[in-house]
């Protein structure tokens, strides 16, 4: 935990930037320092007197954050305390690291941990590059109208509820569904995809592609418009064809965006789509489909081992936090772009 506390101020300073270097610091910076220095000396009493209306506007949202975001964070202490349903929400008595030891010695935990890493890794490998490719292809389209239509269609799956997405998947992949109709047309035997553990990862990653590839192009397309036109001209004069222009001008031009998004994705790759897995899996596919979050859901809320599940959840959240922070550090070292 000390790590998180130390890291809070730096990330607090500027808000998140996904486009990274695409948005340079505003020129307004130059006039800022004197004003800032004067205001630094302002005492809290003066600030409250002058801006009490602003502080009062922040009050309700702050209460919201305290209750619905920070109280659950503290609620994680039940990972170290015995929790009795209906009792104190912060647990009743200290049990130390008992629950941590419990999951470290739990073979199921390590299986779901491996599943999570594999599923997250596959999703990252497949879903990260595809939007770049699609954005490059869209960028080559001359007819504005056509480009717009393709974009609209490809963004659409992003707005669907997971329940709808899974419902559609089930229909497409059912024994009567389109995929099996095609297999049947080629004389193959029907496959109950969602009942087969070996198919789960393909199904999951495929549906992720469908949902995210279009939406993922937005930032790249925006970055592509900022690539300097004269660089293309220079490359053309040097005799570079379409392909080499793409390789030597376009890709370096969108590199900051690529790196930032890659960092963000690596940092969050363990957060595989919990809701989708929960809807999509079944006991027959647990072997490959069960991930940390679904396991802790079953342990905690179905079997009521709340403390044990909280220990697993805390572990996962801490790993996630460390990964985002270190990915950001790496990105800053390598490219000078960071998320905050």
């Amino acid at each position: 935990m000390p790590l998180t506390e130390n890291e809070l101020p730096p990330q607090a300073a500027p808000a998140v930037s996904v486009a990274g270097a695409a948005a340079p610091a505003p020129s307004g910076l130059i006039e800022k320092p004197p004003a800032r220095r004067r205001r630094k000396r302002q005492t809290w009493r003066e600030a409250l007197e002058k801006d009490w209306q602003l502080y009062s506007l922040a009050l309700v949202p702050l209460i919201f954050f305290a209750i619905f975001k920070y109280a659950p964070m503290l609620g994680n202490v039940i990972a170290f305390r015995k929790f009795r349903p209906g009792g104190n929400i912060f647990g009743d008595e200290w049990v130390g690291l008992r629950y941590i030891e419990l999951f470290i010695n739990d073979p199921t935990f390590w299986r779901v941990f491996a599943n999570t890493a594999i599923l997250g890794g596959l999703t990252l490998i497949v879903c990260f590059p595809l939007p770049i490719v699609l954005a490059l292809l869209l960028n080559e389209v001359r007819k504005k109208r056509f480009k717009k239509i393709v974009q609209s269609i490809s963004y659409l799956p992003h707005f669907l509820s997971v329940v709808i997405v899974v419902g559609m998947l089930m229909q497409l992949l059912s024994l009567q569904g389109t995929v099996n109709q095609i297999i049947g047309a080629f004389g193959g035997e029907g496959i109950p995809f969602l009942q087969r553990a070996e198919w789960f990862r393909a199904v999951y990653v495929g549906s992720e592609v469908w949902q995210t590839v279009g939406w993922g192009t937005i930032l790249y397309l925006a970055a592509l418009t900022t690539v300097d036109e004269s660089l293309y001209e220079a490359a053309r004069i040097d005799g570079a064809g379409r392909w080499r222009q793409t390789w030597h001008v376009t890709l370096p031009g969108i590199r900051p965006t690529m790196v930032t998004l890659l960092v963000l994705n690596i940092g969050t790759f363990l957060n595989v789509g919990f809701e989708k897995v929960l809807l999509l899996y079944n006991p027959l596919t647990y072997e490959t489909a069960d991930v940390i979050s679904t396991y802790l859901y079953r342990v905690g809320l179905v079997s009521n081992n709340l403390s044990y599940a909280a220990a697993i959840g805390l572990f996962q959240a801490l790993i996630g936090l460390v990964m985002v922070l270190s990915a950001n550090l790496v990105s800053r070292r390598i490219t000078g772009t960071s998320l905050w």
Binding site: V18, Q53, L54, Q171, R242
Partner: protein, 310 residues
């Protein structure tokens, strides 16, 4: 939808003059690119089309695996059955209620907090931003949230659905960037005229922010409309369910036994659960599809705004 797309594409005048200037390689690439993107669109839309086709098809045709692009054995019986189902309409109404109340609360909290955060002179502003941003990277997790909502007595109430998701930090940052981009002199003039921050917020900033407010309303509504998990966790009574949870129960039923799915829909006819699911999916997705063209205009700018350093 595909026909519409193709029609639009053909209708748009092609700029042949420019194309002829390009080399042959470029032209060939352009043609391939167009074909590829058309195929991609068809693939993207196919799941919608097949669900739509199934919703109008006869159970027999679905069972025989004959339905793909086009309804086989066209009929409206399933629509009739679902629309007569009281639970379905009650749950649909719940979804509308949760969406409206949730969006109203979320907008109130998000706009006020974003307004405060956008005031660069404010003492303690960085701490206030940090409090919000930190929750993007670390959150309490499933179990503590569940324990909290239960112990607050919010289970089986509207509040469990609408309150926990009331501020999306992403939306908050988008709004904050927007407020920061507003011209300062108007506010300063208003201050000189003796207007306090409440007045500036209500009478100047909000009227100037109609576009971004519309975007955020749509973002939040889509999120609340689509949500099922909060309801799944915190609601036990089927009369409180949103329609997404109704659909989830149909789907979950279908994967174990077909009869359960039909039972969940409350139909006694011999309709296939695939039929009922399709119809429910179509009816659930229609509002999103109606809103979509309007959101679309804004969301690109929304994403861009959010990505600009605050």
């Amino acid at each position: 939808m595909v026909t519409e797309v193709i029609a639009k594409n053909q209708a748009s005048p092609t700029r042949t003059r420019r194309v002829t200037q390009d080399s042959r390689g470029t032209r060939v690439f352009g043609a391939f690119n167009t074909v590829f993107l058309l195929l991609l669109c068809a693939g993207m839309l196919y799941p919608f089309i097949t669900v739509l086709a199934q919703s109008f098809s006869s159970p027999g045709a679905i069972k025989a695996g004959q339905v793909s692009f086009w309804p086989v054995g066209f009929n409206l019986d399933t629509y009739g059955a679902v629309m007569q189902n009281e639970t379905f309409w009650r749950n649909y109404g719940n979804t509308v209620l949760y969406t409206v109340v949730g969006t109203a609360i979320a907008m109130t909290l998000t706009t006020t907090y974003a307004f405060v955060l956008s005031k660069k002179h404010l003492k303690g502003r960085k701490v206030l931003i940090g409090i919000a941003v930190f929750t993007m990277f670390f959150n309490g997790g499933l179990v503590p949230n569940y324990v909290l909502i239960s112990s607050l007595g919010m289970k089986n109430t509207l509040w469990a659905i609408v309150l926990p998701g009331a501020i999306s930090v992403f939306n908050l940052l988008v709004m904050k960037s927007f407020f920061e981009s507003l011209p300062r002199d108007i506010e300063e003039a208003a201050q000189i005229d003796g207007l306090g921050w409440y007045g500036i917020f209500g009478r100047i900033v909000l009227p100037l922010s109609k576009a971004v407010i519309a975007t955020m309303v749509l973002f939040y509504s889509v999120a609340f409309w689509n949500d099922w998990f909060a309801a799944f966790l915190y609601l036990d009574k089927s009369e409180l369910f949103p329609v997404t949870l109704f659909l989830r129960n149909l789907i979950a039923g279908a994967s174990t036994s077909t009869s359960e799915g039909a039972a969940a829909a409350g139909t006694t006819t011999e309709l296939l659960s695939a039929n009922i699911e399709s119809v429910t999916m179509i009816l659930t997705v229609i509002p999103i599809l109606c809103v979509y063209p309007f959101v679309q205009r804004y969301f690109v700018s929304g994403v861009m705004l959010g990505s600009v350093k605050g």
